[in-house]
Symmetry: C4
Subunit: 207 residues, 4 copies
């Protein structure tokens, strides 16, 4: 087992656990919530399902991108291990802001705070991605040889753009938390297609 | 580590976690539930054990089938990664309808709703399996070379049939939730033997 | 990735999750429990720590033995996958009887029931180990070539003996639950040394 | 799959799960806690975030060091498996003292007890690391051939020093729990850099 394989295995583990723990936030209704029947009580919980779906999609796409990024890495060093841990810190904490959004998205001012926390964690996650990718691309020894340096630089800009958009969702959360929630879905959708295209430009081979 | 190995590792991770998290729904009785002693209180919880057993068997058999399906795959592309994530979304959420069934199977109308939700999630899971298998079989580059195309087409029909049966359990849940529960066990049992046979037809080698 | 590697990876996943979920049963004291201070409240929870330790040791040793058993397997077939799933079913459920023991070991008659449930699950686990090992040893194609058939037969007897001892702990639980708890620790200790020796007899090479 | 690979996979699994389970201790505020708004309620929970961050960093750095230690191991034997399990026992239990610190760090005398429990678990973890490393270094057959024996002995001293420092934090917890918390962060930071350097001395190749 190479060092790279073990980093991938540990990262896959943390991502797989974080994505699967999200289900623990889906609560079985009880007591007074059942006054109008189970179907009604479940319907009231739509915000939990929306938050579950958003975070599942977000973590899932991050896994796809982590996979694509490490397909470009040939060698891992200690700073890379620590920058990867820093990224995992923010991904692993995501179930908490997800629970905040699920619980408060329908509650006026609290909805703004909950959505701002979610957006803040996503902004920090996106800083962590940028730092990891900057470290990988600055050192030719870590990078797979087929990577076109121009494509690598372009991808840094792209990551930087994502960071600005995420920072804007923090502001947007205070204007309209529901619109911010929808914007997070849109960004996730954008990253699916964008990230799918980008590695094929950077390296037609291994992806 | 090839791309395929990492998809399998991540999927194994999500399946292993979802199957193991089911135990968190088994509650230790407390307070008034203990009025007639612990043995009686545990006996009252039979529906939790039935739901645990059903979902363990369902996820376990899905793991065996995921394993068999990927033994037929030689190359992964991005749509396959996303279709696999879509499948994992439905499998990872299964502990939630399991908890609903465990809690409500003995409560009249709520039992119908709980069982219908469970059956609905199973139907969606079965759509996700079909989409994944359709994508794999439509593109010869993804498929292992020993696969007989006729066997692959027959297996699509078989998957389609499973989907219809699962959709019927949604209806059945409103007629008799307990019968629907038993039918889910029967379907699971059918898939064990059926799926065991099918890959041996499709490819006598690697399974 | 061979089939065997994926079975090991999935089993390692379930074992690693079950062993790590045990910590969720260790509760932070709150409210009235704190009347005499945190140190006293934690001291009152000794049964939780004993149950945690027992189940950690039990699952840990099972992992060592699973590892040793699969070092003897060269090929996996479908019944082996299903028998392995059956074993994982019992291991994955262990956090539940562990929580029962932690909660009730100090409560008279309930302690007997809780300990009997724990012992019953261990007996079932031990049946599952026996079935898996019988399947592996009955079919020469599944077994690694260096295995001495006499050693394999002896190990079946040994597994059978373990089963009888576990069945006796069910009875013992009704006589003295605390003694049954201690006996479980003793059996676990016995399995450490016994199982350590046995594979070296069966196959001096790969373990 | 070699024996070593499976030990690494199981250890990675336990470490990945323990690090990801930490998020379950971050509670969504409810009821009376919301009297001054969600932002205020979240601010009150700073001790939970500090405890989460500390334990994430501690477990993350342990993963990096586990990775580095096993890069030096060429062969695993049974005592090594058991000593590794012993180490995992202490790492897997860490979410519990983390929850104690998160809950009690702001509560006078209870803070001292909570921090002492945390420091005690870290001391035990550090004993477990020392025992594992002593076993690996005492037997040349387990060690990778490039290891300089002087560097290996020096690293034992270093591990022993860490143990003494951790033991001192138990005492410090009774003097000032907040200072002990800060010291734990400092030790973690020290281990990042120290451990990063040490394996490069011991073996310039594989790390």
């Amino acid at each position: 087992v190479t060092d790279k394989a073990r980093v991938e295995a540990f990262s896959d583990g943390v991502l797989a656990i974080a994505i699967t723990l999200l289900v623990l936030e889906l609560r079985v209704p009880d007591g007074a919530e059942l006054a109008h029947g189970l179907a009604h009580a479940l319907g009231q919980e739509w915000s939990s399902y929306a938050a579950y779906l958003l975070s599942f999609v977000v973590i899932g796409i991050m896994w796809v991108n982590h996979h694509a990024m490490f397909a470009r890495v040939v060698r891992v060093d200690r700073p890379l291990l620590l920058l990867n841990l820093h990224l995992l810190l923010w991904i692993a904490v995501l179930p908490f802001p997800t629970a905040l959004v699920a619980r408060f998205i329908r509650h006026g001012h609290e909805a703004r705070v909950a959505m701002a926390v979610y957006s803040g964690v996503m902004t920090a996650t996106s800083v962590a991605w940028l730092l990891l990718w900057l470290w990988i691309t600055r050192d030719a020894r870590l990078l797979h040889r087929d990577i076109d340096p121009r494509a690598a630089r372009a991808s840094v800009l792209r990551f930087g753009a994502g960071l600005v958009v995420y920072a804007l969702t923090v502001v947007l959360s205070f204007v309209s938390p529901l619109v911010a929630l929808v914007v997070h879905f849109v960004i996730a959708g954008y990253y699916v297609f964008d990230q799918l295209a980008q590695p094929q430009v950077a390296s037609p081979g291994p992806a």
